[in-house]
Symmetry: D3
Subunit: 159 residues, 6 copies
Amino acid sequence: MRKGICTGSFDPVTNGHINIFERASKLVDELTVCVFVNTQKNYLFDVEERVQLLKESTRHIENLKIDSSGGLVADYVKSHGIKTIFRGLRSATDFEKEFVQAQFTKYLAPEVETIFLLTEINFSFISSSGVRELAKFHGEVGGLVPKCVEIALRKKFGD
Amino acid sequence: MRKGICTGSFDPVTNGHINIFERASKLVDELTVCVFVNTQKNYLFDVEERVQLLKESTRHIENLKIDSSGGLVADYVKSHGIKTIFRGLRSATDFEKEFVQAQFTKYLAPEVETIFLLTEINFSFISSSGVRELAKFHGEVGGLVPKCVEIALRKKFGD
Amino acid sequence: MRKGICTGSFDPVTNGHINIFERASKLVDELTVCVFVNTQKNYLFDVEERVQLLKESTRHIENLKIDSSGGLVADYVKSHGIKTIFRGLRSATDFEKEFVQAQFTKYLAPEVETIFLLTEINFSFISSSGVRELAKFHGEVGGLVPKCVEIALRKKFGD
Amino acid sequence: MRKGICTGSFDPVTNGHINIFERASKLVDELTVCVFVNTQKNYLFDVEERVQLLKESTRHIENLKIDSSGGLVADYVKSHGIKTIFRGLRSATDFEKEFVQAQFTKYLAPEVETIFLLTEINFSFISSSGVRELAKFHGEVGGLVPKCVEIALRKKFGD
Amino acid sequence: MRKGICTGSFDPVTNGHINIFERASKLVDELTVCVFVNTQKNYLFDVEERVQLLKESTRHIENLKIDSSGGLVADYVKSHGIKTIFRGLRSATDFEKEFVQAQFTKYLAPEVETIFLLTEINFSFISSSGVRELAKFHGEVGGLVPKCVEIALRKKFGD
Amino acid sequence: MRKGICTGSFDPVTNGHINIFERASKLVDELTVCVFVNTQKNYLFDVEERVQLLKESTRHIENLKIDSSGGLVADYVKSHGIKTIFRGLRSATDFEKEFVQAQFTKYLAPEVETIFLLTEINFSFISSSGVRELAKFHGEVGGLVPKCVEIALRKKFGD
């Protein structure tokens, strides 16, 4: 069985992420989407909320499961028998950061392959931080995130 | 009437900014320079000081006005009937950040055009953060910022 | 009167070019689209054909005129009183080439400003060379070029 | 059955290419390596030689087949039921070219996914053109290409 | 006598840094490695520890001395008669940051040359922050840093 | 004795090249400037003319000698006991090409170091091809190239 993973903060998940999940899920038999938590960062949504929003917005993808972790990506994939890490690429600057990260992962887990999908151009300007900024000013986020995230953002910012 | 805008933190305004204002002001009938405030950032100069330094250093540009805002750029330009956002570009890395930002602005305000001017090469190494760092160590900032900013920096750092 | 120019080979003009013309034409009072001919290059369409296709596909833009030249861009703009050169930017690599070109133009014609518009993302993969390649293999070019260009390409490749 | 493809000129195939084939072959059930011929280019090896060298140097990869084509990649994959195009990425500049190409492919064949593998760092400086240049000056190409290619290069350059 | 300098935070020094020191030391008669301290940053190792680890891991390089400073690089090199600043380059993004910094240094100390060495590809994924992250999760850092740093990291993270 | 080299086509030498020679010559005891000839390229000036123009325009640099070669850079430096190759960098795109080339050179001549100097910003738009293009249209090249090159260009283009 081919197993793959998408990793990130997902604070919150956007339509750009969902598009990557849909495409990656076709390339493996089982796709895990895993929230990695960095204890030195401040998040808008806590990890349980982020996992819950991911679950609600990915019900249409059959071979997908949601998880979270506070450790290293390399340790997670080794202990779960995952051989493929999927990453979305938006730009040449993205590429350079990802290149260093992928080499580091290869050093830690040589049998794991990092592969890259290009962000769908119509989603390429959407980032979790842009969505949070927009929601803070009560802007319209309806086209950028799943419905459940839109509702959760409204609650957070008291609309 | 063609209206344009230059946005930024301007903490403080540099000769590189002034050069962009001078060139952008020739491309529109009225140019607004607007200080956008991010409440999560720490600034050296508060917003009133930054507005004041901008006013003093742009008196020679006739069709220019100074303003400040705590909101979104897209909301500001829509409510002021501004159709052109000017951005200075120094490098390919700049370009990538600006590309994402410009697409986001287009999503929020489709009728507004973001256009890019290249930073004059002799000013391309000047940034507000570099100027602050230099002033902190009592370095010579005379060629990098307008006279009024030089004086204000000396006061801040007790020269 | 503000005069601007868009320059290129336009072999042939694509919908991406037309989109840039439409947006640039709003930023000046008169926009010239000028075919520059490099005698060392081989073209699919000769210069008269390219001018003709540009004329047919830009009739809806009122303040636009078509021209051609075998000289330097810097000489053309100086002799025609044009103060603004518009360039479309698709990527960071584009940016670097344009940066060098714009500095060279500034050296030759210091009073002329090169300004950059971002290519509309849905047109960003369209290039004249891609269109020629596709037409050669009898692929569908209908969404990529104006109607008159589609017809001209079919004639060239004997569909 | 998941089918994938690696495309290129392979003039000649290098150890860098072989490394990508080995890794891509693990991600699909059947991998096609297809030589695409551009009639306007001059090649060192003709298409039959290139196919033969590919065959000899990929015998150890079970689920791999070699082919050649004079058409468009998008047409080839559609007519062969291939859903995944693999591309190797070495650098940010590579990325930008590949980004445009992948968007073009998506326009022509929306159901096909282009995915990217990073070039193994120890192979990242190896290109077919570098190998040809080195062989021309009778340099040592042994570590850069498969044995059969080394022999073929020696014959071409009369060592 | 030709004097050169390598500057950085070195929190902690890695095998990638050591490789740059070894190569730079051959290009000058005396090489200074100087820890620059930014009072607004939090470090894992304090400046005395970082200097000590540098001393222990560079004993094999004869013409090298270790120092630390809380000032500007430009002031340090001017007061020590150093004419060459060495910087390691890993990527195009690195290049752009370094370009701005080098121009700034040139403005402050016109007689000083910044020259760039490429990071050895097998070390290019190693960064001090990656090493700290890995050590925090008790990962294997043995191939990435000198022996004395490995021991110091184990003490910090209580292995 | 430290020996270094600057390589290129120098068709013709520009003020940007001279600036690199002046700075590189201070970093070694003997600097060779070597014209490398690619038999598949067309040049404006033949190799003897290019060597002659280099000689005339570098008389002020004492420790510099001019040479030419039809072979590989790696072979030349090995047979001449040169340990340092100097390259000028203008941009991030330059960097990526140079990175691949430097890795290739390291593979062929592991003991040779390629080091990079940043192009002086006021020369960064000057290229040999830009100069040739400008001279062809009888433009003013006086600020871009040494006097002897200006005269040689005028002769070529019959001014």
